[in-house]
Amino acid sequence: LLIFSLIGQPLTYHDIEDIDPEYYRNLTWILENDVTGLDLNFRYSIDDKIYSYPFSNSYEAEEFGVIIIRDLIPDGRNIVVTEENKRDYVQRICYAKMANDIKEQIEAFLQGFHEIIPPHLIQIFDNKELELMISGLPDIDSTLTL
């Protein structure tokens, strides 16, 4: 399931697995099961308690103790997640978690990174290969060569 497509290497909701396996399981559950009546909203909080929270179309980000609820879509906190839009929901919430929240950081990082390595050069690799090159030991699997 493609959630979000960057040029070469699309982010998928699977990518959230190694960030937060439990959350991943939750999302998987949502995708695999009927969510009608779960009272999910398009909202999201990074708080651990998120899972016990009623899901909403907004999300709550806890910054230094203060929980901030952000909408994934306009007025998301009032839009219920249904069978129809649950994929959209998963996509958005993953994107929020993996990209939006750290957008500035990523951008700053890439700015520095691309000063050394031109984007088009690094783009020939995939993420596993990149990991292999940066960190050496592939902790995933060694059948990297395609």
């Binding site: 990518d15 950081q105 700053a108 050394i116 020939i124 990991e131 090159m133």
Partner: protein, 1361 residues
């Protein structure tokens, strides 16, 4: 009046040479040792410079040589005691090895002691081996130790210089011993001072020894390249020596062929001399020049010095002759004091400047650019050559009056330099003026001055080259040599007589010319006026000269009896021998030939007792000239590279002058036909001597347009007519034969082959740097062409030519193109390559001229070579539009046919594409080419298709039915395999069989290779033409912007048209099916070998062209790279043009258009995709299917990825193996890294690693970060050879994850990290992230690992966008 004709330096020199020559033959074995010695020592010395530790050993080696040397000459030397010398030598060696001398101060001390020692014991003065060793020791010290060079001058002055005159054996003299030394070149400018010093010393010693006046000749000879030095020289010299001359001359005459063992040394040292004259003479020149500039202040002193200098140089050169021996010794004893005082005085004046690095200042003060100044001497040689030739015809007796005597320029340049000193601070422009004026006068001087020397020199070469013959025909020899000397005496005496008149005139002249300010170059015209004035006093001299000449001719009757042609030929054939005297190993070979040829030639020579008239003077000169020039050119070639630049410069300068002053052109020397013949004839010599072909001379000569035409005409003619053979006569210019080393090649076919190669080479050289208008002469000159041909040089050629002229009448360039398909040329790779080079050169200039022309018109655009441009604007080259060359169909197809020529190399292919590209700037040509290409592609793809289909069939059969193999095998006619296959059908066998089959099949892939070639070419063409168009549009646009136009639309249309045309190329149906076939073929291969790729690897290179061509086509069709470039360039240009405010409106318009363009382009591509196969799909299909083959190819040939397979990297990186990608990545980074060599130094402490690294790294500019990291931890020693850097990276990566910085947070399971959303707790967090980005980038860049893992999503972020 008995004018001392043999006073002239040359006579002496020749005599010596002859003596030396004979001596050389006597001492055959010794010579080998001798000749190899200098080389060995120089190299050794270089080693010493570098590895002082090994010095001891080397010195010992070096010992061996002198020992041998000594043994050869003075066997008894071995018996003499040598303890002191041994000691000294050991000392030196020890000191060198211990690096003791590296410290300047210490070395100075040491030197003082050392030399004091030497001085007191007069060790160096010892004759023989010991002295040599001491001197060599001294030299070693100075070569080895960095310091003490200055000191050396003093020492040299005091210790060695006196010896110079004392040594009987020239090779034993300090100077010759030091000649190979490292320190002389190092001294550069000031090196001259060394020589100056010692020469002045010597001069002091012998100043009053009038009887040795003749020796001064050598100094003159030596300084021949040098203008002012010579001027000074001559006038002064003659002044002083005139009285002494007759005596010397007479003596000289009496024993011209005196055979002495000693002079042998002269010859030995000759190679050295020739190799080094620049080093030695140039500085000398400097010194004398600067002295001249010192003006009247040091006038008196100056004069004496000059005399001295002259004399010492001569001393240097002269092999000690029997008579002067005693004389040389006595002055040394008698006049040590004067010598030293002189030496002391010398440094005080000008010498000290130069010796100790003050030269530049000094020069600058005088308003002379030191660089220019330095160049002058060397450059001049070239000009001198040209100019000398210039003057040669003027040598006819009747025109004597026209000749400007040497003293005239001398006088002129002297005053010129003097005024310069007077106003000390000078403005830049003035300085410039001075320089150019200086230069011109120098040229003039050179012209005149080379006359005597150059003229004499050919004679010298004459004598040397004839020498072997002499060996064989002894009687002839003596006759010849003496007559030669006499003859030359006749010639040269004329000069000397002029010279003698010089002093009288020089004295008054400064006064008059002084009033002329240092003037512009155009002044040359004025120069002639005084020259003529002077010619009158010379008229009298003329008479004497003539008498003299008659006298000389009596002697010279013999050599004179040579018919010019014949003699030329002798010279030509003997030439290699003469040349060979330089590199020793060649001498032996040459000798044999020379002897043989000598025999052959001498006899008819004797037979021809014709009278050789007074006009021998005229005829002989040019011929001899050819040789002397050759000689000079050779010498010059030794230092070619730096030289080349200079020559070009000087030539440009000259051209400029030409364009400024039209009259100068007519004054320029136009060598007569004989001269040209002589030069061109050199082509007919064996290979090794051709390497030394004086093409620089030719080039210089070709400054004269008519000469240029003649030469090129001639070359082209020879090139065009391979079947001249029978028509040619013996002995005349277009030779029928080639003089090989040991034989004469008479088969004209072979001759043509070789000659054409040489001609092509020559043309390549000639066209390399300068546009030759000849080649682009318009075809309509047909009539003129013929006329030219008719009245053209070489009468002998004429009748032949007319016969061959029927087809002529085309522009030479087109002729050349036509040549491309000549079987003789087309079949030889080297011919082809050269010819293409020539064409490329020509067309390249065509292009530049046209573009420049345009630029001039627009009066904008930066100009890279303003000089040339300037000259171009004046010339008729403006019309040189490439488009003027309407190639007809035939030519186009010829050009294209080259493509299929199997001998074509990659490099030439590229050149060919260049050529075609240039031609394509013309629309008509372009369409022609396109049509031609279409044909080719059609044909080839059809063939390839057929072949592929066949292969497919076979393959399929093989796969489907092993039994059918039998039938196939018979088809393939492989019975053996068939048999074996019958018996066993193990899979193994089958595979093998298949492989063989494939091998065979692929052997037939010529078509594909050729196709590939064409496609490559088209690709290049496509890209280039797009860019070209882009550029043109750009310039046009620029114009438009200023004129507020929007012809942009038209441009776009034009571009579209071009694209369309290219597109058409590929809309050939055949191609399409070809791709389908290829894909199928490959995929079936894939199936067969799915399990066993290893088998395929040997043949994968054969598949390569197929695949490559696929990708190339794909690229052409889909690549908008070129367009991107174009667009980028445009937008950049637009941005630039935005700056001026008034462009606002037009900017808007064009911006709008830019925005529109992509749409247009998209459209066209869309169309393309629809009409053709869906190339994108095709590509991915192709890549997927042939992944394995692709990877294999890439593995074998990694640069493919950045070349023809770049499209794969761009669009389908997935299919590539990680290893392949990584190597590509590394290579690309390496390319980026180019130019950033400085390392990034970081000093960090472990405690504050992160912050300190951050601070230091973020200060750097991005590009600086490409340099090598050099990390240093405080308080820790350790050289960073990679280990420290690795440690730093590891430590830093841990720090990056340090929760205290809150930059990253661990993922749920803790091992992987990703940026923390809360990092903004840290106010600088974004800077830190940037820093981290750099660090990680740098680690990747340098291939270091980091000790941290990130989440998958983070990696994807890195990869994304």
């Amino acid at each position: 009046v008995n004018v001392p004709h043999s006073t002239h330096p040359e006579i002496q020199r020749i005599a010596h040479l002859m003596q030396a020559n004979s001596a050389r033959f006597d001492a055959e074995g010794a010579r080998n040792i001798e000749e190899s010695a200098p080389e060995v020592t120089t190299t050794q010395i270089q080693i010493i410079g570098r590895q002082r530790n090994q010095a001891l050993e080397i010195v010992q080696q070096q010992e061996a040589q002198p020992a041998e040397l000594g043994a050869a000459e003075r066997p008894q030397a071995n018996n003499e005691p040598r303890s002191i010398f041994d000691r000294i030598h050991d000392e030196v060696a020890y000191l060198q090895s211990s690096q003791y001398l590296q410290d300047n101060r210490r070395s100075a001390e040491f030197n003082e002691n050392f030399f004091e020692d030497i001085r007191q014991n007069n060790l160096a003065a010892e004759e023989g081996e010991e002295g040599v060793r001491v001197i060599r020791g001294i030299r070693n010290i100075f070569d080895g130790a960095g310091g003490g060079r200055n000191n050396f001058l003093n020492i040299f002055n005091q210790v060695l210089a006196p010896l110079e005159s004392g040594r009987r054996d020239r090779s034993m003299r300090p100077i010759s011993l030091l000649e190979g030394s490292e320190f002389i070149p190092i001294f550069g400018n000031s090196g001259g001072a060394t020589f100056r010093i010692h020469t002045s010393n010597l001069g002091g010693l012998q100043a009053r020894d009038g009887s040795r006046a003749q020796n001064a000749a050598h100094s003159q000879n030596r300084a021949q390249n040098d203008n002012e030095a010579i001027e000074d020289f001559e006038s002064q010299l003659l002044e002083q020596l005139a009285p002494a001359a007759p005596r010397a001359a007479q003596r000289e005459e009496r024993q011209p062929a005196n055979e002495e063992p000693n002079p042998f040394e002269e010859l030995r040292s000759r190679p050295e001399d020739e190799a080094q004259p620049e080093a030695a003479v140039a500085p000398e020149n400097n010194s004398s020049r600067s002295r001249g500039r010192q003006g009247r202040r040091g006038r008196r002193q100056e004069e004496t010095q000059i005399e001295e200098e002259k004399e010492e140089t001569k001393q240097q050169e002269t092999p000690a002759k029997p008579q002067p021996q005693e004389e040389t010794k006595t002055p040394q004893e008698k006049k040590p004091e004067p010598a030293t005082t002189q030496a002391a005085a010398a440094p005080e004046s000008s010498i000290s400047f130069e010796a100790f690095g003050l030269a530049p200042d000094f020069l600058e003060k005088n308003g002379i650019d030191p660089v220019f100044f330095n160049e002058l001497d060397d450059e001049l040689k070239y000009e001198i050559m040209a100019q000398y030739m210039n003057k040669a015809p003027a040598r006819e007796a009747p025109t004597m009056a026209r000749r400007t005597p040497p003293n005239q320029p001398a006088a002129q340049s002297q005053p010129q330099t003097q005024p310069q000193t007077q106003p000390q601070p000078q403005s830049q422009t003035q300085a410039q003026n001075a320089i150019s004026a200086d230069f011109m006068s120098a040229l003039n001087a050179a012209m005149n001055l080379t006359l005597p020397t150059g003229q004499a020199q050919p004679a010298a070469t004459d004598s040397t080259s004839n020498r072997p013959a002499n060996m064989n025909i002894q009687s002839l020899v003596n006759n010849l040599s003496s007559s030669l000397a006499g003859f030359l005496g006749g010639n040269t005496s004329q000069n000397t007589s002029q010279n003698t008149s010089a002093p009288q005139t020089t004295q008054p002249q400064p006064a008059t010319t002084e009033q002329q300010p240092a003037a512009a170059p155009a002044e040359t015209a004025d120069n002639n006026a005084p020259a003529q004035a002077q010619a009158q006093p010379q008229g009298q001299e003329n008479n004497t000269y003539n008498e003299n000449l008659n006298e000389a001719l009596d002697n010279a009757a013999f050599i004179a009896s040579l018919a010019p042609d014949l003699r030329e030929e002798i010279l030509a054939t003997a030439e290699p021998a003469f040349l060979a005297s330089l590199p020793p190993e060649m001498v032996m070979e040459a000798e044999a030939i020379r002897a043989r040829h000598g025999m052959m030639r001498m006899n008819p020579l004797a037979a021809r007792g014709d009278t050789f008239m007074l006009d021998d003077d005229q005829n002989g000169a040019p011929e001899a000239l050819g040789l002397s020039i050759h000689d000079l050119a050779n010498r010059v070639r030794r230092q070619q590279d730096p030289h080349h630049e200079r020559v070009r410069k000087i030539r440009n300068f000259f051209k400029e002058a030409l364009s400024k002053d039209k009259t100068l052109g007519s004054k320029l020397y136009m060598p007569d036909e004989k001269t040209l013949e002589a030069i061109l004839k050199l082509m007919y010599m064996s290979e090794e001597s051709f390497e030394r072909f004086p093409y620089n001379v030719l080039k210089s000569l070709m400054l004269h347009p008519q000469t240029e035409n003649k030469v090129l005409d001639c070359l082209l003619f020879l090139l065009k007519n391979p079947d001249l053979g029978e028509k040619l006569e013996e002995d005349v210019f277009p030779c029928k034969v080639i003089y090989e080393k040991n034989s004469i090649e008479k088969n004209y076919r072979v001759v043509y082959e070789k000659i054409s190669l040489k001609i092509l080479f020559l043309l390549e050289q000639l066209t390399r740097n300068e546009p030759l208008s000849y080649f682009v002469a318009a075809p309509q000159e047909e009539g003129a062409d013929k006329k030219r041909d008719k009245k053209k040089s070489l009468q002998s050629l004429n009748n032949i030519k007319e016969a061959g002229n029927k087809e002529g009448g085309n522009s030479p360039l087109l002729e050349l193109i036509r040549l491309l398909s000549r079987p003789g040329i087309a079949n030889s790779a080297t011919h082809m390559k050269l010819l293409l080079n020539v064409l490329n050169n020509i067309t390249r200039h065509l292009k530049t001229t046209t573009s420049k022309h345009k630029e001039n018109e627009e009066n904008a655009m930066k100009t890279e070579e303003p000089k040339e441009q300037q000259q171009l604007t004046k010339g008729p080259q403006g019309e040189l539009e490439a488009s003027r060359f309407k190639l007809d169909k035939e030519l186009v197809s010829r050009l294209c046919a080259c493509l299929t020529n199997p001998t074509l190399e990659e490099d030439s292919l590229y050149k060919l594409s260049n050529i075609i590209c240039i031609f394509c700037t013309d629309k008509q040509n372009f369409t022609l080419f396109i049509a031609e290409f279409k044909l080719f592609i059609n044909k080839f793809s059809e063939d390839a298709n057929k072949m592929l289909a066949d292969k497919m069939k076979i393959l399929k059969k093989v796969i489907s039915d092993p039994a059918a193999q039998e039938g196939d095998m018979t088809i393939v006619q492989d019975k053996e395999l068939l048999a074996s296959n019958f018996n066993k059908r193990s899979t193994r066998e089958k595979e093998q069989l298949l492989m063989n089959l494939l091998n065979r099949l692929d052997a037939e892939t010529d078509y594909e290779i050729q196709l590939n070639k064409i496609l490559k070419l088209i690709k290049e063409l496509f890209e280039k033409s797009l860019i070209e168009f882009g550029k043109r549009e750009l310039s046009q646009e620029q114009k438009d912007i200023t004129t507020n136009k929007d012809s942009d639309a038209i441009d776009t249309q034009a571009r579209e048209k071009v694209k369309d045309q290219f597109r058409e190329l590929f809309e050939v149906g055949q191609l399409q099916s070809l791709w389908i076939n290829i894909t199928e073929f490959l995929s079936s291969l894939n199936e067969i070998f799915a399990n066993n790729w290893a088998i395929l690897s040997p043949i994968s290179h054969k598949l390569q062209p197929v695949l490559e061509s696929f990708f190339i086509i794909y690229k052409i069709l889909n690549d908008d790279e070129a367009y991107e470039i174009y667009r980028k360039g445009k937008s950049v240009r637009l941005r630039e043009s935005r700056k001026p405010v008034n462009f606002g409106i037009s900017r808007l318009i064009s911006e709008g258009e830019v925005r529109d363009h992509p749409g247009l382009l998209e459209d066209s591509f869309q169309r393309l995709r629809q009409t053709k196969l869906d190339s994108n799909e095709m590509l991915s299909l192709m890549c997927e299917k042939n992944k394995n083959i692709l990877n294999m190819m890439v593995k074998q040939n990694p640069h493919l990825l950045s070349d023809s397979l770049s499209i794969v990297v761009k669009k389908m990186p997935k299919v590539l193996d990680f290893e392949n990608k990584r190597s590509y990545f590394k290579n690309e980074l390496k390319k980026l890294k180019r130019g950033y060599y400085s390392s990034v130094r970081l000093q960090v402490s472990r405690a504050n690693l992160f912050i300190e690294s951050f601070n230091q790294i973020m200060q750097r500019k991005p590009n600086e970060m490409r340099g090598k990291l050099n990390i240093e931890f405080y308080d820790e020693e350790g050289v960073d050879a990679g280990g420290v850097t690795r440690e730093w990276f590891l430590a830093l990566s841990k720090e990056i994850l340090n929760p205290n910085y809150a930059l990253f947070k661990p993922a749920a399971h803790g091992s992987a990290f990703q940026p923390s959303p809360q990092s903004n707790i840290n106010p600088d967090h974004l800077k830190f992230f940037k820093f981290v980005g750099r660090i990680i980038g740098k680690a990747l860049h340098d291939g270091y690992m980091l000790d941290c893992y990130f989440t998958r999503s983070f990696y994807k972020h890195i990869l994304g966008k």
